[in-house]
């Protein structure tokens, strides 16, 4: 039998070049890929939305998002992804698939998306200006506040977008994109932000 040696790499391994990009001077955009996370899709089974909500509250101590928003639990973020479904984003295996399976037994179907998505954090003075070129969602702070989320499309690619906690008084936008589309979207973001100057990095920690 063939001997497989799986080498886990980021889908942006090739495209991401750490350092400055585009216009010189003070960068208007910080683009950071967050690596090594656990992501589980939770979808209520038919007629079991109530049971799923109860299980979520018991396990995470917070209610599951029922409208487009991202809810912060103690060590996980629950992100709305559609009616009666959400994503659990966490680190270190505490809320990985095998940990959540007994929690949602009978109430929801789970699917491990940890290596199926890339997570990109967009921040800086020009974060909103950059995303405005790619998205038709109104990201004005009056409409899209901290914790707001959207299942939407950017550059014809489905993304999950939500606003995290502000950093240094500036908005932070998080993007989950299908792994195989990540490189394409990454280049599109860089093209859009080149005029502002970009600082590119990757991190193992959530912002």
């Amino acid at each position: 039998m063939a001997d497989f040696s799986w080498d886990v790499r980021s889908p942006l391994d090739r495209a991401l070049v750490v350092g400055p990009y585009g216009a010189q001077g003070d960068a208007g955009l910080a683009l950071t890929e967050i690596r090594d996370f656990d992501l589980v899709q939770v979808m209520a089974r038919r007629g079991k939305a109530g049971a799923m909500t109860k299980a979520t509250k018991a396990h995470f101590g917070v209610a599951a998002p029922e409208t487009p928003k991202a809810v912060a639990a103690a060590d996980a973020t629950l992100i709305w992804s559609g009616p009666d479904q959400f994503l659990v984003l966490s680190k270190g295996g505490r809320h990985a698939l095998e940990m959540l399976a007994p929690v949602f037994a009978g109430s929801a179907s789970l699917s491990d998306q940890s290596h199926a998505r890339a997570l990109i954090s967009v921040s800086g003075d020009k974060a909103r200006a950059t995303l405005a070129k790619l998205s038709s969602i109104d990201l004005h702070p009056g409409v899209f506040g901290v914790g707001a989320a959207a299942a939407t499309s950017m550059d014809h690619t489905s993304v999950t977008l939500w606003r995290g906690r502000d950093r240094s008084g500036l908005a932070v936008f998080n993007l989950l994109v299908f792994a195989t589309f990540a490189e394409s979207l990454w280049h599109t973001i860089l093209d859009s932000a080149a005029e502002y100057g970009v600082t590119i990095s990757h991190s193992e920690e959530f912002a």
Binding site: A49, G82, P83, A150, A151, T152, S158
Partner: protein, 89 residues
């Protein structure tokens, strides 16, 4: 054209895919009835009930009431089975 998704809010047309007439119901039996259900469609000039798929967003099926002459949308509701809460709860 924009569609107000009952789950996501107002979104551009590019996020949606058109399926077609939402009126025909799958018949229980009968070759002729099944033939009509599969192939025969009204070519409505006016208000029509249609299925749209929000594939670029929440991935829910929607039932949209649209005027095919003016593109005016008068109602959008989740299609049967969209989400788990509404079915057999």
């Amino acid at each position: 054209m924009r569609i107000v998704c009952p789950f996501c809010g107002e979104r551009e047309l590019g996020e949606f895919t058109y399926l077609g007439d939402a009126k025909p119901q799958r018949p229980a039996a009968g070759a002729d009835a099944v033939y009509d259900y599969v192939y025969l469609r009204d070519n409505v000039a006016g208000v029509m009930s249609e299925h749209w798929y929000h594939g670029g967003g929440c991935r829910a099926w929607l039932k949209v009431t649209r005027n095919t002459l003016t593109h005016e949308i008068s109602a959008v509701e989740p299609a049967a089975g969209a989400g788990a809460a509404k079915v057999g709860a």
